[in-house]
Amino acid sequence: MPTAATDTLSADADEARVIDFRTAPDRYHHWDLRIDGRIAWLGLDVDEQATIGEGYELKLNSYDLGVDIELHDAIQRLRFEHPEVGCVVVHSKNERVFCAGANIKMLGRATHAHKVNFCKFTNETRNGIEDASAGSGLGFLCAVKGSCAGGGYELALACDEIILADDGASAVSLPELPLLAVLPGTGGLTRLVDKRHVRRDRADFFCTIEEGIRGKRALDWRLVDSIVPSSAFDAAIAARAGELAAASDRPADATGVALTPLARRIEADALHYDHLDIRLDRATRLATFTLRGPLDELPGSLDEILAQGAAFWPLALMRELDDAILHLRFNEEEIGTWMFKSEGDVARVLAADALLEAHAENWFVREVCLFAQRVLKRIDVSARTLVAAVEPGSCFAGTLLELVLAADQSFMLDGGFEDDERPPADIALSAANFGRLRMVNGLTRLEARSLDDPGAVARLEALRTEPLDAARAEELGLVTFIPDDIDWEDELRILVEARAGFSPDALSGLEANIRFPGPETMESKIFARLSAWQNWIFQRPNAVGEKGALVLYGTGERPQYDKRRV
């Protein structure tokens, strides 16, 4: 659990310390995770003092990034370590308050960059809850007793069902606009109308009153799924959790896979994991990722896969990649370009994908695949320029090829380097590229790059596992450019230097607009609206100016708004 302040969190913190996303239940400050048969009880019990930054206390079960890091960890562990659990009950251990949402003092003090990063991560965690529900049959039941405001209600909205205590006091609310002059930042507005189908006029009313809605009206307006008197509350929660658990297809008799601590070594300009190294070039603000394919023989059977557990390469690599991305997002804000390289054997990567395909029905394999999808989504929505460089000795096949497809621009060396014995690079497609690893807009990355040619994906599918050299890859539209060894270094250098010269804001906007062509989903809308609206409002004087609502909140002074509508 991170307790250290960081330079990114608060503008006036003078000491740069690292935000660490690695934690475990025995180190939680804010959550109580209890497993009881097929039901997991995840109780929010925020330690006011255990903040990730300075200058605020986490009153009323409000949260900061530290609280959410633990939530993210808990859900991840429930998926991997507790396959027997079929339903998670999210509840509060504070009698009066379910959750007051993100801590306002923290938001008021935070830099813009931290707010955006924080919101993005909390969104990913809530999307992860829905992903666990839709993808791995893990039901989420939210037991709301006491006030449930803002981000607290958004957490509830991410669950499958919300049961509200009907005690005349417990209420759900989204008071951000009237109270703070900002918007609910974790998908609240979108989930109200797109997921729960709350009628839009009612949603408008609901989002403009501070005190929220309780009891029967909350039910009638679809803000919650049921209301239960206090005296029957615990029993109703237990009963419904039992039903949801019984409906889950997760295996009651399976043994979980322990998510062992990630080994990580941080140097001034590098980050090392077992299957991943990252070098930082601060001059060009470039991070070069080198992902390594399977080092050893792959397991031969499902039993061997399970026996490997967290050491199973597809899981081990993705855990490292996930941690690295979060680390770079929060702790290396100026590193604006991420370049992906790889080392290893294409055939082995394909074999790993084949294993996943063969055992797709197994709960653990299913979790590994869903996790890979989430990590790749995290990369897609990162505000960094993504570049892939395919060189001899690399292993961009199947799952790893997704990084090439995710890149804003990709480069593949045509031929070999001088004085390099290794054969020219090949890339290869696997089943993983055809539906298992979707983007937030619901498309595969192959679909997203062939919107002009509906037959293209089917033709590519016929080429599964075939080695594709640079010329074929370019012809098939899988890479952007294929320089030869004379131009290679220069082409990459020019790209990296050009990106370093552009406005980081404009680049983030450009990339986010172009990466997700095609249809919208609830998930894509949440990120798009967060970036477009919330991040705009977060910058405006009405929220963060000297007399802005977010800045004055808690002082008792009244915000002053620029009355012009923009």
Partner: protein, 472 residues
């Protein structure tokens, strides 16, 4: 349905007769109120004639008319203090100097409604808490005082309901109904504030409640009486005249229990007054500790954004706002509050604006102390060496920075084990409750009083002590 003349039934100075919307709303609410009063108001004695004070107008002659009435026939009225100035302006906050509001500003509709509902909820709550007490009344005089408090609390409910109905539209009408639907101590639909879900099991608790908890009401009403929303301010100003009687019942009630103990101590030269059926001073002290600390919680957290906002917005001021010598904006002024830092109690300077609750609590504590001093004077006059003291503000708190901490009545922070070992030195133990409960025997002969309480010095409205205050 029989035509009811509501303007006759409901004494008022809000021109109910010509306010069609209000009349219609009250017509719908009135039967529900009567239903609530009969089912959850005073138990058993609804058909007896009680010597009650009724307010029929707000002037000198009208606000206190005494007569024997059956409680369901009591004329609950709607009164606002008279508008004594033509051009009233707001006394504090962002809108200071602007004219007071006769209508609710849309911007503040939510918070104002919340303030009124929270205040309104306490009124029927206390009636519910006290509904069975008449069965153990120590005298007809006390039984009458109980009923007087009850009908006036119910009138205060009317006052808040009037504001909700006259100014908050449909939401206000819904809230008015919910005020009758929540129930003190009911886990499924509890009253809003914790102290109003506690039981009032015996008469010592009743006197303590009216002394300490109704005094919180006085301070809340006084700060709402400063409100820029003029109908609320004037309503609360009039309520305060009645609230004074409730605190009189509390102060004199406790004083008479003390007096009785002192009389017996002196007469029999003993501290053990229990054997004479009275309540000993240390037990009284424990009751003080309990009720004072529970009532302190009603003021809310030491530092509060809501309270700061209410002040800036002009919704709720400080006690006697106009008499305070400062800028009434409090933008940059400090206020000293007691805080718990690393297990130690310390004074901290915080922005005055966020410390509005604490300031009101300070005023309240000083006011509580004045009555305690009068009690101590009685003890001293009896020549007994004992002093009732208010416990430290950090003692036995459930709300604010001290909640969860263990602090002695003297203000010393102790660990959980020490607290557990000494809890019943400081708070009434089950045995204390049992003992006090054992004394609760009804006395109904006019002029007679139970063994544990002295008789009052004077009767109600200059009537003799043996007057039949309740005709049984």
């Amino acid at each position: 349905m029989a035509q009811v003349d509501y303007s006759e039934l409901i004494p008022n100075n809000v021109d109910l007769a010509s306010d069609r919307r209000l009349k219609r709303a009250l017509e719908a609410w009135h039967p529900k109120f009567m239903d609530w009063w009969c089912n959850y108001g005073p138990d058993q004695y609804q058909d007896k004639a009680v010597y009650l004070r009724t307010a029929v107008s707000v002037d000198k002659d009208g606000w206190a008319q005494f007569d024997h009435v059956r409680m369901p026939d009591y004329r609950w009225g709607i009164f606002l203090a008279e508008n004594n100035r033509d051009e009233k302006t707001i006394n504090f906050g962002e809108h200071k100097g602007e004219p007071v509001w006769q209508e609710v500003p849309g911007e503040y509709r939510g918070p104002l409604r919340r303030l009124i509902v929270t205040q309104g909820d306490t009124e029927p709550a206390s009636v519910e808490q006290q509904r069975i007490l008449a069965a153990t009344a120590p005298s007809l005089y006390d039984m009458r005082n109980l009923f007087q408090v009850n009908v006036e609390e119910a009138r205060h409910l009317w006052a808040m309901v009037y504001l909700l109905m006259a100014h908050f539209g449909r939401d206000g009408r819904e809230e008015a109904e919910e005020l009758l639907e929540r129930r003190s101590g009911d886990p499924d639909k509890p009253r809003i504030l914790g102290a109003f879900n506690e039981r009032t099991p015996d008469w010592l608790s009743f006197y303590m409640f009216t002394y300490f908890t109704d005094r919180d009401g006085k301070y809340q009403l006084a700060s709402l009486a400063e409100s820029a929303f003029d109908p609320l301010a004037r309503t609360c100003q009039f309520m305060l005249t009645e609230e004074a009687h409730h605190m009189f019942v509390g102060e004199t009630g406790v004083a008479r229990v003390i007096q009785r103990a002192c009389d017996l101590m002196r007469e029999h030269r003993t501290d053990d007054v229990r054997k004479f059926g009275a309540i000993d001073l240390p037990t009284i002290q424990k009751y003080v500790n309990f009720h004072f600390s529970v009532s302190e919680d009603l003021f809310g957290a030491e530092q509060s954004t809501n309270a700061a906002n209410y002040f800036t917005q002009g919704l709720k001021g400080r006690y006697m706002e106009a008499r305070i010598k400062d800028d009434h904006l409090l933008k940059d002024s400090p206020y000293s509050v007691t805080d718990l830092v690393d297990g130690e109690l310390r004074q901290q300077e915080v922005p005055a604006l966020t410390a509005i609750n604490e300031r009101l609590r300070d005023d309240y504590i000083a006011d509580c102390q004045r009555g305690v001093d009068r009690w101590n004077k009685l003890i001293k006059e009896a020549g007994i060496d004992f002093e009732i003291t208010l416990p430290h503000r950090a003692f036995h708190r459930q709300i604010g920075v001290f909640s969860g901490a263990h602090v002695t009545p003297q203000g010393k922070v102790v660990d959980a084990a020490t607290w557990a070992a000494r809890e019943y030195d400081w708070l009434p133990s089950p045995a204390d409750h049992e003992y006090v409960q054992s004394l609760m025997q009804q006395v109904t002969e006019p002029g007679r009083f139970a063994s544990w309480i002295a008789q009052p010095r004077i009767g109600i409205n200059n009537q003799p002590i043996e007057f039949p205050y309740v005709k049984l």
